[in-house]
């Protein structure tokens, strides 16, 4: 759009002012067409797309608002500017609601019109550009959040294998973001325009998995009414991602090994082999090497997959990334929330960093989602965090700490903490502490001394 000449349609029933406007824009180097009646303009809009339309509001039969509606329904990206000698608040509001770019009152000043038109064209170009970019999958690695050494190493590896077709094995704990890495590998590879297919091996039975992956011939078994291409076939030219490959049945491993080795599939019940061009990325949270030794995973299959190994560190191994990840998830969930949230209180950040995350990044994401929907102010506070997380805080023992506490000190601190939590309602506190109220009073009295 940027290269070809910008087309402008100008509609005004006053011949002199129409001529004047057309001349202004032709001088600027635009492809400007002038029409003096509304009906003709509607026909023109139907036949071709204009970048910008300048129209008078009040004309004979067809008015500016009708032209605006037509233009927007034909191409929503066309920008429309209304010029009028009979401006009213009502028509101005109506026009803005319908998506007019600007509303200019006569008498017009050439500079003003020129400026507004240029702005409108710029906006259209930007919209087109954004659309273009949105359609392409993101080619950079910005989806991988974090700067820790582990993540930097992974990013470097992904960059290095951009032009390669080798199989990749991603290992890492559950929830650490293995699928994200697989997607990033796909979108940076030369296969990025082809499909990316994610299959969770644990969610299918063996028969179903075979049927889905390889497809079947007509009458291969009862109920196979017609030939069906398998997922591997449809992913030809693209990338297939097998998640939880450690849960794949051993017989299935043999079949898949054949596909990877020979680069061809045979449909269930078929005899003909069909060549396929796929790249395989696998991920697992299991120790495949150990599984090979115990015989639950085929060694030859393991070596085929483990051409480029990538290990995803668990979140507790890369604590320095937690603030950045938390901010990233907050931005994502803030969009769904009606409130605007700017960040975390220091206390919350401290708890987030100190937490151990058995569920890794996925758990952090859930915590932030929970907190952002509970948040009542523009900052995430302690009370917005899931309750089990905040209660954990009081039990964090720091082995490096030199001044370790006595049991009594610990008890008094905990009682204080619980009291604060229930707004000093003693009956509730005693319920939580599992002692009766009298004991609580007694303990408090002793603490006062």
């Amino acid at each position: 759009m940027v290269n070809c000449k910008t087309s402008i349609l100008i509609i005004d029933d006053e011949k002199i002012s129409l001529k004047h406007l057309v001349r202004i824009f032709q001088k600027e180097g635009f492809d400007a067409t002038g029409v003096s009646d509304g009906e003709k303009a509607l026909e023109l809009i139907d036949s071709k797309s204009f970048d910008l339309i300048l129209t008078d509001l009040v004309m004979g039969k067809t008015g500016g608002l009708e032209i605006l509606a037509k233009a927007k329904s034909h191409d929503p990206d066309t920008e429309v500017v209304i010029i009028t000698g009979y401006g009213s608040v009502e028509s101005a509001i109506e026009a803005t609601k319908m998506g007019v770019f600007h509303y200019i009152q006569k008498p017009i000043r050439p500079d003003e019109v020129r400026h507004i038109a240029k702005q409108a064209i710029k906006k259209r170009e930007l919209t087109m550009r954004v659309r273009e970019l949105e359609q392409k999958p993101s080619q950079n690695l910005s989806s991988i959040v974090g700067n820790s050494s582990g993540i930097a190493l992974i990013k470097r590896t992904i960059r290095q294998i951009e032009n390669s077709d080798s199989n990749v094995l991603i290992t890492g704990e559950s929830g650490s973001g293995k699928e994200l890495i697989a997607k990033a590998i796909h979108t940076t590879s030369k296969r990025k325009d082809k499909c990316f297919l994610a299959i969770n091996c644990a969610s299918f039975t063996e028969e179903l998995l075979a049927n889905e992956l390889f497809g079947h011939e007509k009458d291969a078994y009862t109920g196979a009414m017609q030939t069906k291409a398998g997922l591997i076939e449809t992913a030809d030219g693209g990338t297939i991602f097998f998640d939880e490959v450690g849960d794949m049945p051993i017989s299935m491993q043999a079949k898949l090994l054949r596909v990877i080795q020979e680069r061809e599939v045979i449909r269930v019940g078929g005899t003909k082999s069909i060549p396929v061009n796929i790249r395989v990325i696998c991920a697992t949270n299991k120790d495949l090497k150990k599984m090979c030794k115990t015989g639950t995973f085929r060694e030859d299959f393991y070596f085929r997959l483990n051409v480029i190994p990538i290990h995803m560190p668990s979140l507790s191994e890369r604590k320095e990334d937690i603030p950045q990840l938390a901010a990233y998830f907050l931005r994502r969930y803030e969009k769904n929330s009606v409130k605007k949230i700017n960040g975390f209180s220091d206390e919350v950040l401290r708890i987030l960093i100190n937490y151990e995350y058995p569920g890794n990044v996925r758990e952090l994401e859930n915590i932030i989602e929970h907190a952002s929907s509970m948040a009542q102010s523009s900052q995430i506070e302690l009370k917005d965090l899931p309750p089990d997380l905040t209660s954990l805080d009081s039990f964090t023992f720091n082995p490096d700490n030199q001044n370790l506490k006595t049991l009594e000190e610990m008890e008094s601190e905990y009682i204080q903490w619980v009291l604060e939590h229930v707004d000093y309602k003693k009956s509730k506190a005693s319920e939580i502490l599992g002692i009766d109220r009298a004991s609580l009073y007694r303990k408090l009295k002793r603490l006062e001394k």
Binding site: G87, V89, A92, K97, A198, N336, Q376
Partner: protein, 142 residues
């Protein structure tokens, strides 16, 4: 179903009469004579529409509009004014006002605009939910 509306205007008499008339039409109406206080209300409560006077001594209506939209981007704000200019009207609409109405108020027109605003808000909320589901579906492989 009654629409839940918040009226913001510094003229106490005007706002009370208007609230009464709208209540008669079956709407649930809250009022506020101070935009600053109203902002707090918007933060804590959800409304189908906010009707806001453009000229108030405490805070310019345009400023209040921006503040409300910042706090709650889905909020539908209808601006009222005694002395409308085309420029002000366009500015307000571009800043995200749902509609713009001139005083003296035609109550039928206003309630119609409130109904449209409510419908629009419902679509926005539904769309938000839909997107969430799409994200979930897209986020998980099969």
């Amino acid at each position: 179903m009654g629409e839940k509306v918040l009226l913001i205007d510094d003229e106490k008499d005007f706002i009370e009469t208007l609230a009464e008339r709208m209540k008669n039409r079956g709407m649930k109406v809250s009022t506020s004579t101070s935009p600053i206080e109203a902002l707090k209300k918007v933060e804590n409560e959800d409304f189908d529409a906010v009707v806001l006077d453009l000229m108030m001594p405490e805070m310019d209506g345009i400023k209040a509009l921006t503040a409300i939209r910042e706090k709650n981007p889905q909020m539908q704000v209808i601006l009222l004014t005694g002395h409308a200019t085309i420029e002000k009207g366009i500015e307000a609409m571009k800043l995200g006002a749902a509609d713009f109405l001139e005083k003296p108020i035609d109550i039928a027109k206003l309630s119609e605009k409130i109904k449209t605003a409510q419908a629009k808000k419902m679509i926005l909320v539904e769309k938000g939910a839909e997107e969430k589901i799409k994200n979930i579906l897209g986020g998980k492989g099969w």
